[in-house]
Symmetry: C2
Subunit: 313 residues, 2 copies
Amino acid sequence: MSAEAEFIAALRALATSPAARGLADDAAVLEVGGRRLVLTHDVLAEGVHFLPDDPPGDVAWKLLAVNLSDLAAKGATPLGVLLGYPLGDESWDRAFVEGLGAALAAFGVPLLGGDTVAAPRVLGLTAIGESGGPVPSRGGARPGDALWVSGTIGDSGAGLRALTGGLPGDDFLVARYRRPAPRLEAGRRLAPLVSAMMDVSDGLLIDASRLAEASGVAVAIDLAHLPLSLPCRRAAGDDVPARLAAASAGDDYELLFTAPPERADEVTEIGATLALPLTRIGFCRPGKGLSLTANGEPVPLPARLGWQHGEGA
Amino acid sequence: MSAEAEFIAALRALATSPAARGLADDAAVLEVGGRRLVLTHDVLAEGVHFLPDDPPGDVAWKLLAVNLSDLAAKGATPLGVLLGYPLGDESWDRAFVEGLGAALAAFGVPLLGGDTVAAPRVLGLTAIGESGGPVPSRGGARPGDALWVSGTIGDSGAGLRALTGGLPGDDFLVARYRRPAPRLEAGRRLAPLVSAMMDVSDGLLIDASRLAEASGVAVAIDLAHLPLSLPCRRAAGDDVPARLAAASAGDDYELLFTAPPERADEVTEIGATLALPLTRIGFCRPGKGLSLTANGEPVPLPARLGWQHGEGA
């Protein structure tokens, strides 16, 4: 076991409250006064989750969005956020707070509090949400359930490659990397239908394998069904290696969920209402682990399924 | 206005929700299902809030304690915490998680979730508490109210000076610096009685001046009444300069509160029940600002009242 895996395991041993969901879910769920509070805290570090050259306003947006994405995956409505902010460069800080204001307004989320400190640029944010209904976990998928994903996959990874010189520049892809859109409304509408739901933050493949493990099922994904955007296909290609790259790139902040096959029409209806593609990309069966196919042919799992803990989440 | 003060002012402009209390209080207060949730997020940075040589278990303790201290000041019972943790040195991390376990157990608080990232050592923690009764703010003090403080003041500052060579070593003082004790039970019992309450984290003088400002009153403190521990007096002396140093040192995590004079017996009774000194150190009157006396003689305010925002809190 790596030192990082050991650390996480040691933390898990401390997280004995049922509200912690064994630290295996995107968020904690706390019952208060008959309501369900959904709580998450994600950290962004410079050089890990964002580039030193990224516009500060976009970093603010992303910090908020990645946390709200966890609430989205639990179908929760955001109540507010707490910010931990390391003060440093004056003009960066000023642009950050402007961007934060824009992002808070865009999502209609109040800033409730937090703390500032003169320190290296490691940003922490806690988001607090509320749900009046069931709060899906990663662990509820059953054999026979269909596996779905929202939006398109791989745009953000292609955007990062565009910024770092690995692909030609593309505004759409860069915006997907810098300003992800948490699927709050979709999460709220899907929560009562799904058997399991999480957000895709570390890469579709690694997140799907976590869902499989938490649910005690095997998950099969057909790469041919992976929803790829036109800019992504244009920049990075559309063959099996390109699809594997998209599925292990991370930073998508789309929803990954399972539902019994008979709920397919309701799922599709929600996607149509929100003008958000919801795509069936695989299914669950008895067993464990993740397997891939492309047009019926088996595809071996890549060595790296996505971002691992400690690389950042 | 300094760049830091400007940043805080810009954040305040964003924090328009009543739950945010204008970012002027120790914690946010959110009404959920007829209950009051109390939320705080404090950050500790190496070299700012703790020394690189401090034992990691003590840093874990302190991270938890400074956040719980904010809940204590609002009379809230902790429901759980979320941790943002920068992974770095394997043996440091292992000792940290052990110490965190001990601290969580000592305060009976569950770890609910959080995030880990490979990054410089800037620790963030969110504490979530609940209160069934009134949640005192900093802003409720009225002219005529007495000003009280719990425990003793200046121990932690003297402990830090002992660790950095400015004073002779002393285990009690170092422990007060490294392992502060949030006054949770006292906070719960005092919350229904007090007119205003906050914790002393940045220094008694600066925190008292914040309370005065938030309440729109003037606060007068008699330095002769300042409760100093025997080890603190032995190490740092007991004259007016020593008392000013104690009152501006910070990191006390004691409760500072005001109450009408007729509640004095009830306050004293709570102190006796908990075997925690609760000491009347001054009073509020119409006007604004902070004034000091020692045995009836006016004492000019020192240039530095405590830690300012951005130095850390």
